[in-house]
């Protein structure tokens, strides 16, 4: 059963990093997938499912923002090139607070971070990296967390 793995990959490993912090609240669930979209071309999706009431922040924030933007880092892999930047697919909300004079670009419910990757040659490899993110609801915030991922391209 283990050799039936030659599939346009749907699932791939998701490795949660021990945070040394609360396991109690975990309002964001990450799922990492890859899909072959063309010759040697793959689409990587980092999907965040966000519990109702919580927000996840966009990678780009307005000037008067205080939130820590979501940061995605890919480990360098000589077999790969990254095409363009990480795209965000989801409904972005523009939060503004008059009193505190601040704004934020944020997502509720769900957002996908999409990166197109090209293989330099036909080879089996993984793309690995980490997501650093921070979440808040109306009454509290959780300290930033880092989740590592390693996604097979196949």
């Amino acid at each position: 059963m283990r050799n039936v793995k030659k599939i346009l990959g749907i699932i791939s490993s998701f490795v949660m990093v021990a945070q040394g912090q609360s396991q109690g609240l975990n309002p964001v669930n990450w799922n990492f997938t890859s899909k072959k979209t063309g010759d040697k071309t793959y689409e990587i999706r980092l999907t965040a499912t966000i519990q109702s009431g919580w927000h996840l922040y966009s990678q780009s924030q307005p000037e008067d923002a205080i939130a820590i933007p979501t940061g995605i880092t890919f480990n360098s892999n000589p077999l790969l090139t990254l095409e363009n930047k990480v795209k965000e697919v989801g409904k972005m909300e523009k939060f503004h607070d008059e009193k505190l004079e601040l704004s934020a670009n944020q997502y509720s419910n769900k957002v996908e971070f999409v990166q197109v990757v090209k293989l330099k040659a036909n080879a089996k490899t993984n793309i690995s990296g980490s997501v650093e993110y921070q979440t808040c609801d109306d009454k509290k915030c959780l300290p930033p967390k880092t989740v590592n991922f390693s996604i097979a391209l196949k």
């Binding site: 059963m1 283990r2 039936v4 793995k5 599939i7 749907i10 699932i11 791939s12 490993s13 998701f14 490795v15 990093v17 021990a18 945070q19 040394g20 912090q21 609360s22 396991q23 109690g24 609240l25 975990n26 997938t33 109702s52 009431g53 205080i66 939130a67 820590i68 409904k91 909300e93 939060f95 607070d97 009193k99 505190l100 601040l102 934020a104 509720s108 419910n109 921070q134 808040c136 109306d138 009454k139 509290k140 915030c141 959780l142 300290p143 930033p144 880092t146």
Partner: protein, 392 residues
């Protein structure tokens, strides 16, 4: 208040069952493998994925070809573990995926195409218990289905908050269901698994009691050890414990020792420049500081900020909000956290801080007398406590 009442009711109810059975009787070695056989009704061919953590703590993605709808998986695990099963499809389809407990035993499952969530497993005591808990939670969910749906579709931020307020009884009923389960199944793996999600909302003594009842076998598992550590940290930052000392340079570069403040009350304010609810609460905190700092034995505030990675944002926030008390950084070291190393200088760790803002009130002898977890009801509780100590 209601929550605390309900918990006490459970405690009384289940206390009468006495001590959990003797550990040596239930101590038994699990076999180190599982065998899961299943059939998908309504689908003959295709590929099914199974995702779980194995004996070596490695995340495994296994797959199996359906033959007449049947499949079979084998693997190495030595304790119940959360697993995820999914049918391979062009688009990710929630209808054909299910989370369940995989147990080192011979298990079987009947799946229905497009209704994996109704899966019925057999051969695992843990999964049976988990299914039972989920069934009773599904009943609650159905009761609130309309509001939950409107919450999902409502895009307006303020309206969303409003709906959520009205859903408070739903969240409370869901919590109660878990507490009741803990009481009925004191030594279930499911109890330990679900307890992790209640470290934040259960009163500490209830947490400790449920933990004790898990018994030696579960205490020895990794999940059990993590839970114990979490509870111990929380204990260290809760009323009744002596506040752990810390010595650190403050925002002006002067040394700050918590123990130097003995003889006065101290409020530790765990916050961050990037935390909107914290920043919203600052004006009120300033009023409290002005009002109480010289009353009676006096009180000092110490802001402990989660801004180690960006001190500039910290300086700016302290200045903009005009916070006239002492300020230190929590001492977060992301590298150490990623390596799983203990960081002695992390103040938030010493006090078991889970979310911001959290405020910890320390009396003149250095003993913790209050812990206030968020900006809502608990902020109100803190106001009352101040009035009680210092007078109006």
């Amino acid at each position: 208040m209601n929550k605390i009442f309900m918990i006490s009711a459970f405690l009384i109810l289940f206390h009468s069952f006495g001590q959990p059975p003797n550990d040596s009787k239930i101590e038994q070695q699990y076999p180190a493998t599982f065998h899961l056989r299943g059939k998908v009704a309504g689908r003959n061919d295709g590929i099914i994925f199974l995702n779980y953590t194995n004996l070596q703590s490695k995340r495994i993605n296994d797959s199996c070809k359906l033959v007449n709808g049947s499949f079979s998986f084998k693997g190495d695990i030595n304790q119940p573990t959360m697993a995820y099963m999914q049918l391979k499809e062009e688009k990710r389809n929630e209808l054909n995926s299910v989370s369940f407990f995989l147990e080192p035993s011979v298990m079987s499952v009947k799946l229905q195409f497009n209704a994996f969530r109704n899966a019925r497993f057999s051969g695992s005591k843990t999964q049976n218990e988990y299914a039972k808990l989920n069934d009773s939670k599904n009943v609650i969910e159905k009761k609130y289905q309309k509001q939950l749906d409107s919450l999902r579709t409502e895009k307006d931020h303020d309206k969303n908050a409003e709906i959520r307020e009205r859903l408070a009884p739903y969240f409370s009923e869901m919590d109660q269901e878990d507490y009741e389960f803990f009481g009925k199944h004191p030594q279930s793996y499911v109890t330990m698994f679900v307890m992790r999600f209640h470290v934040v909302d259960l009163p500490l003594d209830s947490l400790e009691m449920f933990y004790d009842r898990l018994g030696a076998r579960l205490h020895q598992t990794n999940d059990g050890k993590n839970l114990a550590e979490e509870i111990q940290k929380l204990r260290g930052g809760s009323p009744g414990s002596m506040a752990k000392n810390f010595s650190v340079k403050d925002i002006n570069g002067s040394m700050l020792n918590l123990s130097d403040f003995k003889g006065k009350y101290v409020l530790l304010d765990f916050w961050a420049s990037w935390c909107v609810p914290c920043r919203k609460g600052n004006p009120h905190l300033k009023e409290m500081y002005a009002k109480y700092k010289n009353m009676g034995k006096g009180i000092e505030f110490i802001g402990v900020s989660d801004d180690d990675s960006k001190p500039d944002a910290w300086y700016k926030a302290v200045e903009k909000d005009g916070l006239p008390w002492r300020h230190v950084l929590r001492g977060l070291d992301m590298q150490k956290i990623l390596k799983g190393e203990h960081n002695e200088s992390d103040i938030s760790e010493k006090f078991g801080i889970h979310s911001l803002p959290t405020k910890i009130l320390i009396d003149p002898d250095g003993k913790i007398i209050g812990r206030y977890g968020d900006a809502g009801d608990e902020g109100e509780a803190m106001n009352k406590k101040f009035a009680e100590i210092f007078g109006e």
